[in-house]
């Protein structure tokens, strides 16, 4: 009987799935910043709303259309982010969230990527509302194509704005992968994932 008791996910995941923390239920919640990522097409969508005082996340509420891992990882993310400085919150990674959850099945990693993305989108929104310069954005950019100096954020922005909807378009616009070509596989994977996240 014992193997029947082993759930697909860890106890911590199960706990957060059964009793998700910090769900946004008040329709009049006055947030200072809000971010939404994901799409219906991929079956995951995530909304994060923040209250911020003195550059500290004092409250975080969220909603999701998503699977058990999305629910659990966002719930965990909300607990971790509350009390963090904007700088810390912006640098919260999916790995940090999944570590705290005690791990997720490999193919579920995508779900927690959405949690931290929505959090960054909410912080971006907060800074924009404040008319402040967003210095964090650059700090988390990762170089994907060394030859052409193309970052993951540049690629994401092009996907988000629908300027690059095929890998060829992406290459035309950035020159990515056109010199030594070693970045092509990584770039393709990232591009496909982003297309998916933004529902194109």
């Amino acid at each position: 009987m014992s193997f029947m008791d082993e759930w697909v996910y860890t106890d911590t995941v199960k706990d957060h799935f059964m009793n998700p923390k910090n769900i946004l239920s008040d329709p009049d919640y006055k947030e200072d910043g809000k971010g939404m990522v994901g799409s219906m097409a991929c079956g995951d969508q995530m909304l994060v709303a923040l209250k911020i005082e003195n550059d500290i996340v004092v409250d975080l509420k969220w909603k999701t259309y998503g699977c058990a891992s999305a629910i659990a990882s966002t719930s965990m993310m909300s607990e971790m982010a509350i009390g963090m400085t904007l700088d810390e919150a912006y640098h919260l990674t999916p790995e940090m969230i999944t570590d705290r959850l005690g791990g997720l099945p490999n193919h579920k990693f995508h779900c927690s990527v959405l949690g931290d993305k929505a959090l960054r989108a909410a912080i971006d929104d907060y800074l924009e509302r404040q008319g402040r310069e967003n210095t964090f954005k650059k700090s988390v950019a990762k170089i994907i194509c060394e030859c052409k100096g193309v970052t993951d954020q540049q690629i994401e922005a092009l996907v988000q704005s629908e300027e690059a909807l095929s890998f060829e378009q992406l290459q035309e616009q950035t020159g990515l992968g056109t010199v030594c070509g070693k970045c092509k596989n990584t770039a393709k994977e990232l591009f496909d994932e982003l297309l998916h996240i933004y529902g194109h």
């Binding site: 759930w7 799935f17 219906m40 991929c42 999701t64 998503g66 699977c67 999305a70 629910i71």
Partner: protein
Amino acid sequence: MNSKIVYLDNNATTPVAPEVKEIILETLDIYGNASSMHGPGRLANAAVSHSRKAVASLIGAEPEEIIFTGGGSESNNTVLNLVFSDIFENTGRDRIITTKIEHPSIYETVQTLETKGVKVTLIGVDGKGNLKMDELEEAMGDDVAIVSIMMANNEIGTILDIGEAARIAHSCGALFHTDAVQAVGKIPVDVKALDIDFLSLSGHKLYAQKGIGALFIKKGIPFCPLIHGGHQEAGRRAGTYNNTGIIALGRAAKLAEDQMEQEIPREQALRDDLKERLLATVPDITINGDQEAILPGTLNVSFPGAEGESILLYLDLEGIAVSTGSACATGSLEASYVLLELGLGPELAHSSIRFSLGAYNTQEDVDYVLEKLPPIIKKIREMSTL
């Protein structure tokens, strides 16, 4: 975890019937090689023959028209691979026609065959999963080797018009196969009346165990084995007879034949009750599949605003076992291609739950689902972005 289990995933697999379990235990001692001439071999051979008759009887076939296989997937692969065999040599027939809603053991197999040069035409279905007959008719030609159309769909339960599809296939001289894995044991099947050349069935969908199946091959139809290396099954499938599996499948076939008449209306009544009361208690849901031509125990429902894998796992915590067409549950990023093919948007496909009732479900099970499910949907919808 809850120790109570309400198992509503009988299209995925069924539990082994107590009657089948009993005969498995009894006949574990039948160790002889059914091809051997001595006593133990003859005993095994007698048991295999007995089972062959029972399986044949369930689908209106002759015993010699049945070969045992390692399951539905093997039966399907065997037929599709005929396209490469001598039987189509110099006939100019090198095309397979099938549907867009087949099980992966057909769908992915034809994709593989395509990479090896076989031509493939996929026929669509309407919003309820019924085959587009005009599309099939148009697609036919004298280059078609095999037409393979499933008898009933595993996800939505729609029963396709196999008699008409076989007629169209034969009118162009093609051979006709049906994957009847979801139909056999659940609804009456008569290979003669439907004029079928090949039919696949699987033990674990009708209360026998996994890893045993059968293929019906109409008498006089040319054939070539997929698995070579032995004279078993009259040279049609090599490998020492799987005594236990074959005996179990025979017992399960007999049980199905004996009980079908009472079982169909019983399952239908439970399914309809579940459907009607869900429609009455959970707002904004849609029912998928043809509600007239449908397997008696299958009910596929979309709960917009609630993601399927979440529903599945919250139900699992209550001891209720179902399945979903959501991408999340499979690890792929796409929702069920069957539901998308029906024209459901991704949201409805990701929000779908399949309840498949079987011989051991009771009114109590349905009542239990109706007690647990509505609050789960409410809870998920409350945290949904939609």
